[in-house]
Amino acid sequence: MYHAAIASSSSSSSGSSDLFVLAIPFVVAIAFWVVTYRRYRNQDARHVFEETPSQVSNLRSLDQRVHHRTGLDFSEIEGRNDDDALAPIPIEVTGEVSR
């Protein structure tokens, strides 16, 4: 019924934007549920260990341009993880804690 009403009140070129507007109530309701649940349960809460007093020295950098990409869909690199201290990056551990 809603679709019929919408179809009669909208031109065919604006059909997709109408659907987008119709999706807003679903998105808002789901966001409300998720945000509230997270606020109660705090399942992601953790010790922010990366704020432990620490110091970096003797920094060596490599920045080598390797190629150029065009026509990319997203504004960020795929799989960006430089802002995630818990990113599951494979690491090799040696020295005093490897035993």
């Binding site: 119709l22 409300f32 432990t52 003797n58 060596r60 960006r80 990113a87 990056i89």
Partner: protein, 385 residues
């Protein structure tokens, strides 16, 4: 290499020799109940010589209290009363103090025993029971609307309990390297796709690497398997909540004295330093990449780290008890399952975090209300807008 072991076993007032000693939370001092003399134990870093330059740290140093646990060691320990010579049995799993039944002297389990019950250091409670009750009440009070009825019915913040949790505190000197791909945007433009305009990006791709020395001062690691999420019970409780109220002001930790524990309970350490090495390396690596963020400015499309390495040149561990106020609630789930929810208050800083069981049906109903409240004006806009 092992740090020098302190002498312990029988705590006396330094002034009058009485063993009737208690901890005054108000002053943060130990107080002799006989002569009222008050004092504080020495700060542990100074006491163990752990206040030296971390950059020069080589090899592994493990303090006496962080030494390997003897899994066969009996929790029941016999203490020889130094007041009258009687032998008094104490269960170290539940108590660190006992009273000699002959001469009434207080015996304190300060001597290092190999079952992990006695740490090197302790951070005494600074947050009072009243403050903890207020913090728990305020935290839960903001989350009552969709809390499960049983939680609301049984909510008694006065039941918050002070517990000393075991931790390793580590100083680390490590070499960290990380390698990945970074992208720099060179062009942003729009293209026509069907009847829509879409944004596209061009980018230069870089091979990015960083190598550096990282020193960490007082990295705190869980030394209880249960709290570290290494036990079989990890799915049945919200241990991350206790983890989330860290950090502690570890620089103020003092040499362990059982009298600091007073009426509080304590949880025994059951992990060795060899079992936390992987966690330590992960934390060092995560801290290293966090430091590198500021140095990645030109990569406006970000960096994807793909591999890394941590070489620990030097590390020193000590074990400590740190104070947590804990409020707990069992959520009964279907099939006899239970989930233990905690609200935790850091006993030093007052930081609070918690998990409150959610009445999902009520929350879903409210979400449906939000849906209806949003849908009506949206429909109005579509029909008449």
């Amino acid at each position: 290499m092992t740090a020098p072991e302190p002498v312990g076993g029988f705590s006396r007032c330094p002034k009058c020799g009485s063993t009737e000693i208690s901890y005054s939370q108000r002053s943060g001092m130990l107080v002799c109940q006989f002569c009222r003399y008050s004092w504080a134990e020495q700060r542990i870093e100074e006491a163990l010589g752990f206040d030296t330059d971390i950059g020069g740290l080589k090899g592994t140093v493990v303090s006496a209290g962080a030494n390997q646990i003897d899994r066969e060691a009996d929790a029941v320990v016999t203490l020889k009363c130094q007041g009258c010579g009687a032998e008094v049995v104490i269960n170290s799993a539940t108590n660190v103090q006992a009273r000699c039944h002959w001469c009434r002297s207080f015996l304190s389990l300060d001597a290092r025993i190999p079952n992990g019950a006695v740490p090197d250091a302790v951070l005494p409670f600074a947050v009072t029971h009243e403050q903890a009750v207020q913090a728990v009440r305020a935290f839960a009070g903001k989350r009552m609307t969709f809390a499960q009825p049983a939680f609301k019915r049984e909510f008694r913040p006065e039941n918050v309990v002070g517990v000393y949790m075991p931790y390793f505190v580590a100083d680390v000197n490590a070499e960290v390297s990380v390698r990945g791909i970074g992208e720099v945007e060179t062009r942003r433009y729009t293209v026509k796709v069907g009847d829509r305009q879409e944004t596209r990006y061009d980018a230069d791709v870089y091979d990015v690497g960083r190598e550096f020395t990282l020193t960490m001062d007082d990295l705190v690691l869980e030394s209880s398997a249960r709290r570290a999420g290494q036990s079989a019970d990890r799915e049945q409780e919200t241990s991350n909540i206790i983890n989330a109220v860290l950090p502690f002001d570890t620089k103020n930790a003092v040499r362990y004295n059982a009298n600091y524990l007073g009426q509080y309970t304590s949880e025994k350490r059951d992990l060795d330093v060899s079992q936390v090495g992987g966690s330590l390396a992960r934390m060092v690596f995560g801290t290293g990449t966090a430091h590198m963020r500021a140095a990645l400015g030109p990569y406006d499309r970000g960096v994807r780290w793909e591999q890394g390495a941590v070489a620990v040149d030097g590390v020193r561990y000590l074990s400590t008890y740190a104070p947590i106020w804990l409020y707990s609630h069992y959520e009964r789930r279907g099939g006899g399952a239970e989930l233990l929810h905690y609200i935790a208050v850091n006993g030093r800083t007052g930081a609070v975090m918690g998990s409150v069981p959610v009445a999902r049906g009520k929350l879903t109903l409210a979400a449906f209300g939000v849906f209806v409240a949003t849908f009506v004006p949206v429909l109005g806009v579509l029909l008449w807008g």
